[in-house]
Symmetry: C2
Subunit: 430 residues, 2 copies
């Protein structure tokens, strides 16, 4: 399932594909050397936007849900990657405690948990799902659409360790992005591995920090393959001290929008791109596609109506928005059956293990697709990974395309690794 | 593509499948702990025989050819495993020198080389194929059936390093089993990784040593899952100082055949198995299904006719047979479209990355299938690995079956690791 591409009009990304394929051994070695020095996040998903003239990550999720949206065929790759990850962290591990989000009435999310449980079970771990939801006071079996069930257990916190009743795991895997803060039960667990680390949660994480790291990564990578880093990187700016309700910080926002749009306009001119530049204004700490608006002109952020201000001021779990990222928007040229789509790549440890297209039939190419009404089309395995063909005409070969997606997504993965090192509260700064 | 199984008649292996599935986390942890202490061979393939009442490896190949027989869908798993392997050995590597067998007119074998080249290319290495064939004196392009070509280069040996012209690799990967001895060009390479190590070649390797290691491995594993080790292990014996031409060693052979058949008979009686016991007499150092005969009675090895003696006395590349293994034969119950078949499992590093059925329409269930006329049916990816279903009725679910194959094959892989440690000439013995 390869989305329709208007090949003739979209030279640069096709050239990029060619260049990336030709440089495959050098690229893989480059990643290998990066991972010698830096630990990859335990898992991640990366949203990409393909504008035809550029291909770049726009969001990196370190607590990826949606594993159920990947095709069954990706499972062995995920299992193999999970084996590699576990072996490095806690090879003697018998047990893994999975801590999910609270929304246990969302069957899609429950399916995601079931899929993660299955991956780690097959990788050789006994998996229990322990929830921070205080409404769950005893083991509760919830039904999945396919007829299976999933057991949610209340957490049991000891003095130094966390588990569930009669279950003392080596590793605690968070599938909860800590948007509403770090629960007390997760603090001070020095005897167990907590993955991803607590500072990867949205309590402390900031998108602008991630994309600052990404700037560094992509600069070096672009040099390796000989392209303008902008091809792979959206411009961005940051505004702090925002209060949408109180109309506080509007000037900063308008200036930032203006600055980013100006830089984009210059690049569009340089490359002869006839698109209308826009930016995405997003909560700097937030996810689920909430707190996002698309802006084509600085004036638009000056007189926001109440509805928009309400929308922008609060993200997941009532967390208030104080910082925003103003990120260059990339109009998507990818289509599945006429609907606009964008690729999402899933990784475990350092490995690409699958992905899907996020498709939204009611959105335009310059809109946020991560919104109600979206659906997911798995990147089919045979198309996705199979065999890259260096000689295929650019833009005509699925595996080649997906290899390129995987490379760009892994650049964001390297950036996340840098970011987590830089923001680690336990790293002493000189 | 799951071969037909007469389920009702073949209880024990179905029970085994069930038991292995239930113990999956414990089994994977068991392997993880093994690999903490022991390095897996770089790659391997294992021939299995499924008798319905037992499932066991009968041959472990440390220089596997036939990678071209695996389905395209397995490629990503092999690439991922190759990445993991390379990273451990020589993460900074740019180049890999692949040293093949000499039979460069065998297009199947050339396709195998092309597939291996592709795997390591995608894993991030520049691969050159350098041959020990002295007939190749300059870079020679050979045509593959699919229209691609493969470049064979003469080796260039420096004082301390081996490469090809203008190519100085970090790692040398042997796909040549050294049946005709270790070429001088491979001796004394202390600066480069030579994989598998030279003592894994048939110059020094012995099947009986392998199966002695396997005895140890399987004893512990059988205890873990609570089965009779015999379920997973063929009896065997060894005879040295054999000379088939001179009729030397026939008594030892007859005695050994008698002993093994006696032990098998006892087991058959214990389990109520109504099969006629037989043994495979094989060259203790040899491959390609050469130098193998099936024997149902000790008297058969006493008066071998000239043809059989000729057949048994020489294996690949004219290597003379001096040692033989007398191995319990396992009648195969597996069929593909009426033809007898046996599974062959491929591994890279510690990972199962694919496999196929070796099928021979003209052979019986108690015959050697590795002989002219055989063909290969890849284990289809979606069936092979996809999703194991612990609740599926034993014998009805492809992925469950293939998971079991993979577990038994990995037991042989662990045994090979022990074997290589024990036979390492550079290990000091106390």
């Amino acid at each position: 399932m390869i989305p329709h591409l208007v090949s003739a009009e979209n030279g640069p990304v096709l050239e990029l594909e060619q260049r990336i394929l030709e440089a495959q051994p050098a690229i893989e070695r480059w990643f290998r050397l990066e991972w010698m020095e830096h630990s990859p996040p335990f898992y991640a998903s990366v949203d990409l936007r393909n504008g035809g003239f550029k291909l770049a990550p726009v969001d990196t999720n370190l607590f990826p849900g949606g594993w159920n949206n990947l095709s069954d065929e990706m499972l062995p790759l995920a299992v193999q990657a999970a084996m590699a990850a576990i072996e490095k962290i806690c090879p003697e591990a018998k047990g893994l405690l999975l801590i999910p989000e609270k929304h246990t009435r969302n069957t899609f999310y429950l399916e995601n948990l079931a899929r993660l449980t299955q991956i780690f079970h097959q990788a050789g771990l006994k998996v229990h799902v322990g929830t921070v939801d205080e409404a769950i006071t005893e083991p509760t079996s919830v039904q999945l659409p396919n007829g299976d069930s999933l057991l949610l257990e209340p957490l049991v916190r000891g003095k130094r360790r966390l588990g569930t009743k009669d279950f003392d795991p080596c590793t605690i895997l968070l599938n909860n992005d800590l948007s509403s803060g770090v629960p007390a039960s997760l603090e001070g667990l020095y005897e167990q591995y907590v993955l991803p680390p607590l500072h990867a949660g949205w309590t402390t994480r900031r998108k602008t920090t991630h994309f600052k790291s990404y700037d560094d990564v992509v600069k070096r990578f672009a040099k390796l393959i000989g392209v303008d880093p902008w091809m792979l990187n959206p411009y961005f700016a940051h505004c702090g001290n925002i209060d949408f309700h109180e109309r506080q910080g509007e000037d900063c926002l308008a200036d930032a929008v203006d600055t980013v749009l100006g830089k984009v306009r210059k690049k569009y001119k340089e490359y002869g791109i006839h698109e209308k530049p826009f930016v995405a204004v997003k909560a700097d700490a937030g996810t689920y596609g909430m707190g996002v608006m698309m802006v084509h002109d600085a004036s638009e952020v000056k007189d926001l109506n109440r509805k928009t201000r309400n929308k922008m001021s609060v993200v997941k779990e009532g967390m208030e928005v104080r910082d925003v990222i103003i990120q260059e928007g990339i109009p998507s040229i990818e289509r599945l059956q006429e609907a606009v789509c964008e690729p999402v790549v899933y990784m475990m440890d350092r490995y690409v293990v699958g992905g899907f297209y996020r498709v939204h039939a009611e959105r335009g190419p310059s809109e946020n697709l991560n919104s109600p009404g979206m659906h997911f089309v798995p990147l089919a395995f045979d198309e996705q990974f199979n065999v890259t063909h260096p000689d295929a005409k650019p833009g005509t070969n699925g595996p080649n395309r997906f290899y390129m997606y995987g490379v760009i997504a892994r650049l964001a993965l390297v950036a996340a690794s840098y970011e987590l090192e830089r923001t680690d509260p336990e790293t002493e700064t000189i």
